[in-house]
């Protein structure tokens, strides 16, 4: 591979329901601390959700927060944190050579629901519909708000990819770097989904919204007692650079993206397809130039729906059966962060390159035999000694699959 095609992660910014920095997130994942809480949403009885508590005003004025969206605030917080973490000399970065590529599951539902509620208070008089609605709901909003906040004049866009979006954001950034469209990619995924009642109501109507007396036990992928998804908000954004650029400025390299793949099930609106998922993983392995035996840790997508977990476990057994690759699941701690899920799940595992640990999949009290995985890291973290490569799964509705393989960078 040409050296300029080697893309590395040099900075990380995140907000998750159980942590607002890489270290805090990692610490809580290793100590088994969930971020799922009771939550109130419009029109519905109380639900459960993964709620973030980052400080919006750390990088935005109150005016910016008022004008913008929650997704924009998530993206701005994570992007600024990533730039700071990367120790970029931001004042001297050529802003026209920076691109912002953010995966989203959906965007605009929050603002549209808010406006419909607002006009309902005025007998549906559309004259009180906000003039801010369009700039808040255009699909590029979260990425565009980042460029406004940081003075970035290079390209920006969001990548709509359902719950495969986190990986898709990274992949878009990687490709733009390889095409030499930009020198720095601010890439990842964001979600503000918990601020719309519609996502909860829809999952409930689908019979796929998790309930549990104890919020921290509600998200239980691969467990017999799982009863659906815990919706979460969050963001996971990385600074991606070409390897020579990173080395030239003496950047700390947190990992190298060595493989990626995306494909489509072409089989159902909502039901996943283990065959296509397995194909996607194999394609990523092939592009990375490694085999399944070279993967140490698989970060699973499983959302705690009945069929979804069975399909992914089937695909994982097919690809990784008989290997030493362990499997874990970050959603068991934070719920399903939608557009941010793939990004946060990768970032929650990235520190394993340094500490050699695989964080647990919590709440696996009674493993579902239909999801049998020999190497599932259940309930307690596992010391792997050394972790060299992570494969991160992220799948979504309409049959969209994404896989990213990240390797520890070694000179």
């Amino acid at each position: 591979m040409p050296v300029n095609d080697r893309i590395v992660i040099t900075g990380i910014g995140l907000t998750a329901p159980n942590g607002n920095s890489l270290n805090e997130f990692r610490r809580n994942l290793l100590s088994g601390r969930s971020g799922v809480v009771n939550y109130e949403t419009r029109y519905m009885p109380p639900v459960l959700a993964g709620v973030c508590n980052f400080d919006e005003l750390r990088y935005q004025s109150r005016r910016e927060v008022r004008r913008g969206t929650r997704a924009g605030s998530v993206a701005i917080y994570c992007s600024n944190e990533a730039i700071r973490h990367a120790e970029l000399d931001w004042d001297n970065v050529e802003k026209c050579r920076v691109g912002v590529y953010l995966g989203i599951t959906e965007h605009g539902n929050v603002e549209t629901e808010n406006e419909i509620y607002e006009i309902s208070q005025f007998e549906y008089d559309t004259k009180v519909w906000s003039h801010h609605h369009n700039p808040r709901t255009v699909a590029n909003n979260p990425a565009g708000e980042v460029t406004l906040n940081l003075g970035i004049t290079g390209p920006h866009l969001t990548v709509g990819a359902a719950c495969a979006a986190g990986n898709a954001g990274f992949i878009q950034g990687l490709q733009m770097l390889r095409l030499n469209e930009v020198d720095i990619a601010i890439a990842g995924g964001v979600s503000e989904s918990i601020h719309t009642f519609g996502i909860f109501a829809s999952f409930q109507s689908q019979g796929a919204l998790a309930t549990h007396e104890d919020p921290t036990q509600a998200s239980r992928p691969f467990d017999n007692a799982r009863n659906g998804i815990v919706v979460a908000e969050g963001g996971g954004i990385c600074i991606l650079e070409r390897l020579p650029d990173a080395l030239k400025r003496g950047a700390t390299i947190y990992g190298e993206i060595i493989g990626h793949a995306m494909n489509s099930d072409a089989s159902d609106f909502v039901l996943p397809n283990s065959e296509r998922q397995a194909e996607c993983m194999r394609l990523a392995l092939s592009r990375a130039g490694i085999t399944q035996h070279d993967v140490d840790l698989v970060s699973s997508h499983a959302t705690a729906t009945e069929q979804g977990d069975i399909e992914e476990a089937t695909a994982l057994r097919e690809v990784f059966g008989g290997t030493n690759a362990v499997v874990n699941n970050t959603k068991s701690f934070i719920g399903h962060a939608m557009g941010a899920a793939g990004a946060l799940e990768l970032l929650g595992n990235l520190s394993s390159f340094d500490d050699g640990m695989a964080h647990a999949t919590i709440n696996v009290d009674s493993p579902d035999p239909r999801c049998e995985l020999d190497q599932l890291v259940a309930n307690q973290p596992r010391d792997l000694g050394k972790v060299r490569s992570i494969l991160n799964n992220s799948f979504g509705m309409l049959g969209i699959n994404s896989v990213l393989i990240v390797q520890k960078y070694e000179d």
Binding site: S61, R62, R63, R66, R67, F122, K127, V128, S130, P135
Partner: protein, 87 residues
């Protein structure tokens, strides 16, 4: 509402629109835009807030009356004289 009450209503709206600004020294004779960060979308918020709180419709060709605090109060006074301050 009296002129003074209308002034307070407008000031409250401006404080919501520009929460980072200190408006304690607002000069009633000077254009809003010359003494605070206020773009066209913010300006429309003034119109919208008045519409929501007092059901007052301000035609676009009359926006020019909302340039300073003094002209805004003078414009609104006859239109809101029989309207109580919203709770």
């Amino acid at each position: 509402m009296t002129g003074e009450e209308i002034r307070q209503v407008v000031l409250d709206i401006l404080e919501r629109i520009a929460p980072d600004e200190d408006l304690s020294g607002l000069d009633d004779a000077m254009a809003f835009r010359e003494q605070m960060e206020l773009d066209s979308m913010d300006f429309l918020d003034i119109v919208m807030e008045l519409r929501k709180a007092y059901r007052i419709q301000i035609p676009e060709d009359e926006y020019e009356h909302l340039t300073t605090m003094a002209t805004t109060v003078a414009y609104l006074e006859p239109r809101l004289k029989d309207v109580p301050v919203a709770g």
